[in-house]
């Protein structure tokens, strides 16, 4: 090979390499710039903290300890009056009589939009039946059909409550679940009887990144916070964002470690301070 061709190949190769490095440095979202990770031994220690407190851990211990920022969110901008069009494709649905909420009626279905932004769709006659492993696909396609699906929704957990099961889908942002932003589908005997959702609009991360606490530290706080819990089976430990319910226009939400128990009880440990969210 002559020197000129070799130079050309090298120039192309280094150009590609530089593009990749630049992309990695400047364009990849900050949360992916994981700082450190727990070693296998540390993860085992974290698990031991939970086990020695009497918990059975039915999920993997996350090892990432990323640097994160607060996340700005705002209320979902959709006006109450526009919901009938997106759910029923009927902008002229009949207005319901409800002093607290904005409500609409379409046949056997009632749509309620509460002042705090929670939207509930009731089915007078529970909708079509589905069973077994197909249920998730069925719910997803049903939500799509009703204009209530978004690609940012991810299945979270199923909570059994008496005769019905509530399937929870969480809104995600850049891969992080927003634990307070959900779509709940209530299923009775394989039929969808209610859909309830509360979504926010993620805006941007705040500028300052802070090292989060590891799940090992969060486990200590969880054990203290959950000392009166009778259920001792942990089905999920994950990192995401959380906020209490505020009557706000715009607010900041914080990264948390969420510990979920089999009965649907959840505990949020602030991933910045390591303290339980009260």
């Amino acid at each position: 090979m002559d020197l000129s061709r070799a130079k050309t190949v090298l120039i192309i190769a280094f150009l590609l390499l530089n593009l990749f490095l630049a992309f990695r440095l400047w364009l990849i979202p900050p949360h992916l710039q994981a700082g450190v990770v727990l070693t296998g031994e540390e993860a085992e220690q974290a698990k031991n903290v939970l086990v020695s407190a009497g918990y059975e851990v039915l999920t993997a211990i996350p090892r990432q300890i990323p640097r994160l920022s607060l996340l700005h969110v705002s209320r979902h901008p959709q006006e109450p009056e526009s919901w009938p069009a997106s759910v029923w494709c009927d902008a002229n649905a009949k207005r319901g009589v409800d002093t607290e909420n904005v409500s609409f009626i379409n046949g056997e279905e009632t749509l309620q939009i509460a002042p705090n932004g929670v939207v509930t769709l009731h089915f007078g006659k529970p909708d079509r039946v589905s069973t077994g492993h197909e249920l998730h696909i069925f719910i997803e396609s049903f939500l799509k059909e009703r204009g209530l699906w978004s690609e940012s929704l991810k299945f979270d957990m199923a909570m059994q409550d008496g005769s019905h099961t509530r399937y929870r889908y969480l809104q995600t942002y850049q891969g992080f679940p927003l634990f307070f932003s959900y779509t709940d589908v209530k299923v009775v005997d394989g039929r969808i009887s209610e859909i309830r959702l509360y979504h926010v609009l993620p805006l941007e991360f705040t500028g300052k990144e802070i090292q989060t606490v590891s799940v090992a530290e969060a486990a200590d706080a969880f054990v203290k916070a959950a000392q009166f819990s009778e259920v001792k089976k942990i089905i999920d430990i994950s990192l995401g964002y959380y906020s209490q319910d505020y009557d706000a226009k715009r607010w900041e939400i914080v990264p948390v470690w969420r510990f979920a128990l089999t009965d649907g009880t959840v505990f949020y440990i602030n991933a910045f301070t390591g303290g339980a969210e009260l």
């Binding site: 130079k7 280094f14 530089n18 440095l25 802070i210 706000a248 607010w251 948390v256 969210e277």
Partner: protein, 444 residues
């Protein structure tokens, strides 16, 4: 020429890739490169000693006239300097129970006492007297008469106590006359003066001797250094999130503590993890902590006085509030209390810290009209009686005083009007326009 250019480009690309790789591998994250946060202890004003906020009302009765000094009155400190010698008890007080047939005379003698000190919150004598034997003595009133100069009568809740005094200075009585010479004169009214309202038996209702001359005044909200307050509460503000509520309020929280600034100037702080408390506290400790918390949470302005201290009720089923204390304050400006449905400062805390804090201080501004004479409160009893009957209340009058009324929510440039407040023994207070005598509102 072309080959040279290729060489230059190649060298440039190689160097760039080395720099980028280095950055990716060794770039220090922002936190580590940042200057470590300088945590400073932020406080608002000086720490007030306990003895400064547990000050009694001072009464001096010559037989012909009654003069009174409240902690906010001019000349109070000089008078208190003289009278606090009555707390230098000699020995442990003994309980005294007058015989039933002598009881009325006994109470009359006490009412006729030349000097009376009355604490709005029962206070430990040990604050002024270091004797360990008086450690548990808490009094609400103290009586002294020149006929028994070596004795002092104390009221300990429901009991009467009698104690000897350390020798008083020879010019004690003369000094009292001097320090009270400029004090406002008052009169003791009789129950029949307030008919058709009922007066709680044994309760003396005292009014200023001279008609009060007051003018409506503008009110403005207190301006706090919110940034300093934030840094005082949250050690690292980088961990604090901000929530902008739709009613204009702002909330700051780190998940465990929350600070809310309302649009109308009120602020509220909550920290649920501070309850229940671990230990019971004595009044002196409660007051010391109140002063410390106020110093951290916005300060203790001169016009704010202690109003009440209540230990949370202990119940078996409510463990949460155990060993926690509510302390409320009153604002007195231009010599008049500001009367409203809510206290300017409410503090709820335990030995583990503040559970709840509310602050909504209003400041009296300039007069909006010329001062005018306030109506004689004895002329408004029918108005209050009618209102009570309409609403089915049957309580007895226990106190009456003048002040400035603050509505529940103020807007900027609002005006506070002079009012009479009639306090009843069921906890309600009737607020009456001080000029027209018109009933305004009940305050619970």
């Amino acid at each position: 020429m072309g080959e040279r250019l290729k060489t230059v480009v190649l060298v440039f690309l190689v160097i760039t890739s080395i720099i980028l790789t280095g950055q990716l591998l060794f770039r220090l994250p922002a936190l580590e490169t940042a200057v470590p946060p300088a945590y400073e202890q932020l406080v608002f004003g000086e720490l007030r000693p306990v003895t400064e906020h547990l000050k009694p009302a001072l009464h001096f009765n010559t037989g012909n006239e009654l003069r009174m000094l409240q902690p906010w009155d001019k000349g109070y400190d000089t008078a208190w300097e003289v009278l606090n010698k009555l707390l230098l008890l000699n020995g442990v007080p003994e309980a005294f129970q007058p015989l039933e047939e002598e009881n009325n005379q006994f109470l009359k003698d006490r009412d006729a006492a030349q000097v009376k000190l009355h604490f709005s919150v029962s206070s430990p004598v040990s604050l002024w007297n270091s004797s360990f034997r008086l450690h548990e003595l808490i009094v609400d009133s103290l009586y002294w008469n020149k006929a028994e100069p070596g004795l002092v009568w104390l009221r300990d809740g429901e009991r009467w106590l009698r104690s000897e005094l350390h020798a008083l200075p020879q010019d004690f009585l003369e000094n009292i006359s001097i320090v009270f010479s400029e004090a406002p004169k008052h009169i003791v009214t009789e129950a029949k003066d307030w008919e058709p309202l009922r007066v709680l038996p044994g309760k003396m209702l005292i009014l200023p001797d001279a008609p009060l001359l007051l003018a409506p005044r503008r009110i403005k909200k207190e301006e706090l250094n919110t940034d300093k307050l934030l840094r005082s509460i949250f050690v690292d503000t980088a961990l604090v999130r901000r929530i902008e509520e739709r009613d204009g309020a702002f909330i700051y929280t780190d998940g465990q503590k929350g600070l809310r600034f309302y649009d109308h100037g009120e602020l509220e702080y909550t920290s649920p993890k501070s309850e229940p408390g671990f230990e019971e506290m004595e009044l002196a400790s409660v007051m010391r902590r109140s002063a410390q918390y106020l110093q951290l949470l916005g300060g203790w302005p001169e016009h704010i006085y202690l109003d009440d201290v209540i230990a949370a009720e202990k119940s078996v089923w409510n463990r949460q509030q155990r060993d926690t204390y509510y302390v409320t304050f009153v604002s007195v400006q231009e010599g008049m209390p500001l009367i409203g449905a809510r206290a300017p400062i409410t503090l709820h805390f335990s030995d583990r810290g503040v559970v709840y804090y509310n602050r909504q201080i209003n400041l009296l501004g300039e007069e909006t009209a010329s001062p005018a004479t306030m109506i004689n409160p004895r002329l408004i009893t029918h108005e209050v009686m009618n209102k009570s009957e309409q609403e089915g209340f049957k309580a007895s009058l226990i106190d009456i005083y003048a002040g400035y009324y603050l509505k529940e929510s103020i807007v900027s440039q609002a005006v506070a009007h002079p009012v009479w407040a009639m306090v009843f023994d069921d906890g309600r207070t009737a607020v009456i326009n001080g000029f027209t005598g018109k009933f305004l509102v009940w305050i619970e």
